[in-house]
Every structure is written in C-alpha cells, then in structure tokens.
C-alpha cells in the first residue's frame, strides 16, 4: 500500500497554475510584440521609434519609388515562383516514385533527402558557390570554343539561387507528400482497381485528389522558404539582389524606416501564404491518420531561419522531425 501523503491541493497548486498561465501569456507577447513593433513603425511618420508622429504611408511610398527595391522584389518573386514550381514537381514525382521502390535505392534517396534538409543553409550556400564557380570556369572556355562569335557566359544569378533553393524545398515537398501517402486510405485504391480503373485513372481520380492538400501545402512552403531565404541567396545570387539581400544590406548601413515598410511587405506575403498552408495541412490531417507532429515538423523544417536563415535548416532532425532546414 502506498503511504498516504498529504496532497498539497489548494493554494500552492492554484499559485503554480496562475504562474504558468501568466508565463505563457508573457511568452506569446515576447514572440509577437517585436514583429508588431516593426509593422507599427512602418506606418509611423517619424524617422525612428522615439519619434511617434502619427500615421503615414510615406515609407511605403519611398520604398515603392526605389528602383533597387522594385528590382529586388521582382527577382524575389521570380525566384520564389520558379522554385515553387520546380520543387513541387520534383518533390511530388519523387515521392510517388519512392512508393513503388524498395531497398537500397529507396534508402539512399531518403538519406539524401535528410541530408538536404539537415545541412546548415550557410554550408549549402558556400558549397553551391564553390561548385558553381568551379563548374563555370570549366564550362565557359568550352562555350567560347563552340560559339566563338558571341560566347554565352555562364555566371551566378537568379537561376543559381533557384537551383539551390529547389534542392532543399523539393526535399520538404517530398517529405510532406510521402507523409500524406502513408496516411492515405489504401482501400480506396484497391477498390478503384477492383472496379477496373486503369492505374492512371486511379491515380487521377483517387490518389491525386487525396494528395492535393499536401502538394499545395508543400508548394506554398517552398514559395515562402525561397521568398524569405537570405543566407543561401547571399552566396549564390551573384549580381541579382533579392529582397532579403537588399534589406540586409540596407539595415547594415543603418536602420531606416523604409526597411520597416519592406519588412512588413515581406511579412504580409509570408504570413498570407503560410496561413493558407496551415489550413491545408490541417485539412489533410483531418482526412487521414497523418502524424501531425511529422507534418508540423516538416513544416517547421524548412523554416528556418536557418535555411531561411539558419532556421530552415533547423527543422529536421529525422527521427524527430521528419526531415529537415
């Protein structure tokens, strides 16, 4: 029999409970107040935080009339869109292909997916820079040899950012789609086959619709990670500045209110696409028994600051989180 110990019910527990709840409120404030500050001050007419002069959109106007900002915005949108398309196609097709593969080949591909997610963003950026510079210095003389008139010169630029972003975003899409595939109801596929549907038709009418939330979610994640990424683009962008690179360069020179406006625009784009992603991932979770932790972890994975800073990198310790940043 257990020794009957007096239960410390009452005041002490009530205090602990209050303390925990208040702590959580403070933690949420800590998470959101800094972002809110940036947004609020982007609408402040004054030059800095101590100079609250009232509402104004002058910093948005000045950012909008800055040629460099517009060019960077255009590059960022172009890079993020291309990355999204490539990562979605490659990630989804490879996830489907993995389903019907087994053995060493499958294991090796899974390993590479983890590696793509785990390797810190800064190393991905540097390694890609070294590799591309080396490859270009070999290829350019050949191009000059075959087309002596107007030799095309390969160099770093938006395309090399797309290539590198696609590497880790496609790994994230792959993980999301596979998680969904695993949680899918097999009986439906078998039923479809029993009803004499061709494999292609089964895919189109049964498998694909079930996968859609994961695919769209993955696509939006890929877009966001690419749009937000600083560190990888920093090394591989060459002359093509992206918005985060522009923002970084300008705040290193000193904080300007214009930076708040640019940051707010970046935030709006990201949060918008992320809210949609969140809803889709939740919906896909509701449909089948997908491990929510995995989906979340995969989502967090990219995140990151790493990759997307460093964060992105962050997310995915495999056992844990599925994948990747």
């Amino acid at each position: 029999m257990a020794r009957p110990r007096p239960r410390p019910v009452g005041r002490a527990e009530w205090l602990i409970d209050r303390a925990l709840r208040s702590y959580a409120v403070l933690a949420y404030l800590f998470l959101f107040v800094p972002i809110a500050v940036v947004v609020i001050f982007s609408f402040n007419a004054g030059r800095h935080a101590a100079e609250l002069l009232g509402f104004s959109t002058r910093w948005y106007e000045s950012a909008w009339s800055n040629v460099f900002v517009l060019k960077a915005l255009r590059n960022s949108l172009l890079i993020a869109t291309s990355t999204m398309i490539l990562a979605t196609v490659l990630g989804t097709t490879s996830a489907l292909a993995l389903e019907s593969s087994r053995g060493r080949l499958k294991a090796a591909f899974e390993q590479l997916t983890y590696v793509a997610i785990i390797v810190p963003g800064i190393v991905i950026g540097i390694a890609a820079l070294l590799f591309l510079v080396t490859a270009f210095s070999w290829l350019n003389p050949w191009l000059a040899y075959f087309a002596p008139e107007s030799p095309p010169r390969l160099g770093l630029g938006a395309h090399s950012v797309v290539a590198t972003h696609t590497l880790f975003t496609m790994a994230i899409v792959n993980v999301l789609v596979r998680t969904r595939l695993r949680g899918m109801d097999r009986a439906l596929i078998e039923a479809s086959a029993d009803l004499y549907a061709s494999p292609w038709r089964t895919f189109r009418q049964v498998t694909f619709p079930q996968l859609l939330p994961a695919i769209v979610g993955g696509a939006l994640l890929a877009f966001t990670f690419s749009f937000d990424d600083f560190i990888v683009a920093f090394f591989t962008a060459g002359q093509d500045q992206t918005l985060p690179i522009y923002l970084f360069a300008s705040i290193r020179r000193g904080v300007t209110p214009e930076a708040n406006a640019i940051a707010t625009v970046l935030l709006a784009v990201t949060i918008g696409s992320m809210v949609v992603t969140g809803l889709l991932i939740r919906r896909s979770r509701a449909v089948g028994p997908v491990d929510p932790a995995r989906a979340l972890a995969a989502a967090a994975g990219g995140a990151g600051g790493g990759r997307a800073g460093s964060g992105s990198t962050a997310a995915a310790v495999p056992g844990v989180a599925v994948v990747p940043e």
């Binding site: 257990a2 959101f32 490659l90 591909f109 785990i118 600083f230 600051g305 056992g319």
Partner: protein
C-alpha cells in the same frame, strides 16, 4: 559522402515488373538534382578543403590535411560558438519547457490556435525577426527611451543581444518537440501517481519530466545545431564581434578568401551535424517500438 551512387542505381534497378518501372523512373530528375546540387558541391567542398590557399586568396590544388590540423589551433575564436550556442540552447529550454507544458496541460479548446501561434513565427522571415530586435535594441529604440529617464545603456552589439536573438528565434523550435512528447504522455501514469498520493510537484518531477526527455533532447538538437551555424544574429545583433561558425565561414570566403581553410571548417561542421543527427536517429529508433519509425518527436 553519404551515398554517391544513388542516381546511378536509380537507372539500373527497375526490373520489378512493367507496372512499377515507369513510376520509378520519375525518381531520376530528383536524383539528378541531388547529384548536381548537393553531392557535387559537397565533394567540391571536401576537395578544396584538402588544398592550400593561393598567395592572393582562393584555392591552390594540393593534397594535405594541414587545414584540418590547424582547425584545432585556430579553434579559440570559435569557443564563442560553443559557449553562446550552448547558453542559447539552455535558455531556450528554460523558456520553452514551461510554455510547452502550459500548452499540453492547460490550453483546452484553444490548443490549435495556440499551437498555430507558435508555428507562425517560424514561418516568418528569420531576417525580419532578427531585424525587429535590431530596431528595438538600437540606439533609437529602447535605449533612447531609457535615456529620457536617465538610464544610459548599450543593448545592441552585446552578447546579451545575441542571446536574446537566439532565444527569440529558436524558442518555437524548442517548444514544439517538447509539446509533442508531453502530449503523447500516457495520462494513466499521471492518474496513478495522483492516486498513490503524490502531489502535483512530485508527479511532475517523477513522471512528467523523465517521460518528456525525448522531446527535450530533440528540441535541444533542433536549436543547438542551427545556432552553431548562425550568421544573421551575430552580424545584426552582435555587431559582428560575437563569432559563430556561420560568420566565421562567411568571413573566410568573402573577406580573407581563405577557401581551403573555410572548406575544412565547413566540411567538419557538416560531418559534426550529420554524425550527431545520425546518432540521435539511431538511438531514437532503438528506443521506440518497432513499426513506429522515428516517432520520438
């Protein structure tokens, strides 16, 4: 490094029937992408790390392990990385555990919303989250407000700002896995403990805390590893003074142009990350029941 033979294998191994083969061919584009943009760059990195620095910077072919040997002697500046990454991880744990605990035990019907609120910051730009603190701690932010009440402090460009930046940016990554392990905790243990007369505190210490250890370990890894490679936080909040592997690497490639040493450092970093994560995965697989692959998180 890990599996240089994949893409080749992708073509060679598909005799498992006419149905599976065409689908499996879909693996080729993705495998090629890994080959060209992941394996090849890492191989180039490893090759350059075996070379020597050319006199005016860059790379000169050689086959030597000198760069790795000098990692040890030149490691002193990087003790900062270890100290700050470790300190940052501990602070994240102290801040993140109670948060995850409240979420798992007291959130009630708000759970989904509160979870989403933890994940949203992870999805917003890392650069902006760091910049927000630069704006707040900078001389026109909080210090100016404090000045008006007669307090004169420098907040930006201090180790304090760096630690704050780490806790701020990585708190969600710590709280998430801890939350998941608390959530999965078998409630009947808690009831048993209560029935046996243990109070809330004793139950927490003897049941909850040990059973959430897997979440704590994953959280610490998710924070520690990326923080080691941090670049933006030390540059924006530490004034570049507080060195992390990340800004050491950026300096080696962009400023001092010592490619071989930088490559050796990067290679060692990648190996360290892969070994730690590999060990962790292996352990996690051994500890969890078979069939529930990698379910620790």
């Amino acid at each position: 490094m890990v599996a240089a033979s994949t893409p080749v294998a992708a073509k060679g191994r598909s005799p498992a029937g006419p149905r599976g083969a065409p689908v499996r061919l879909l693996l080729i584009p993705a495998a090629l992408w890994y080959l060209v943009f992941l394996i090849a760059p890492l191989v180039v990195l490893a090759i350059i790390s075996l070379g020597e620095r050319a006199t005016n910077g860059g790379y000169e072919p050689a086959l030597t392990l000198d760069q790795y040997a000098s990692l040890a002697t030149r490691f002193t500046p990087f003790t900062n990385t270890i100290v700050l990454a470790f300190g940052g991880t501990v602070m994240c744990l102290l801040a993140g555990y109670p948060l995850a605990y409240v979420l798992a035990t007291r959130a009630g019907s708000w759970k989904t919303v509160l979870m989403a609120l933890i994940v949203i910051p992870l999805w917003t730009s890392f650069l902006i989250r760091t910049y927000a603190w630069m704006f707040i701690l900078g001389s026109n932010g909080v210090p100016r407000l404090l000045e008006s009440v007669g307090i004169d402090v420098q907040l930006l460009n201090t180790p304090f700002a760096v630690l704050l930046g780490i806790v701020y940016n990585y708190l969600p990554l710590m709280a998430l896995p801890i939350y998941v392990s608390l959530e999965r905790l078998d409630r009947s243990f808690l009831e048993a403990s209560r029935d046996l007369g243990a109070g809330q505190v004793a139950t927490f210490r003897q049941i909850t805390l040990p059973l959430s250890a897997p979440g704590v370990i994953s959280g610490c890894l998710l924070v520690f590893l990326p923080v080691m490679g941090e670049y933006l936080i030390p540059v924006l909040l530490g004034g570049g003074k507080t060195y992390f592997l990340g800004n050491a690497l950026a300096d080696l490639f962009l400023q001092s142009r010592n490619w071989p040493f930088g490559s050796a450092l990067a290679t060692a970093f990648v190996l360290f990350v892969l070994v730690v994560v590999g060990l962790y995965t292996w352990l996690a697989r051994r500890l969890t029941a078979p069939g529930r692959e990698g379910g620790v998180l």
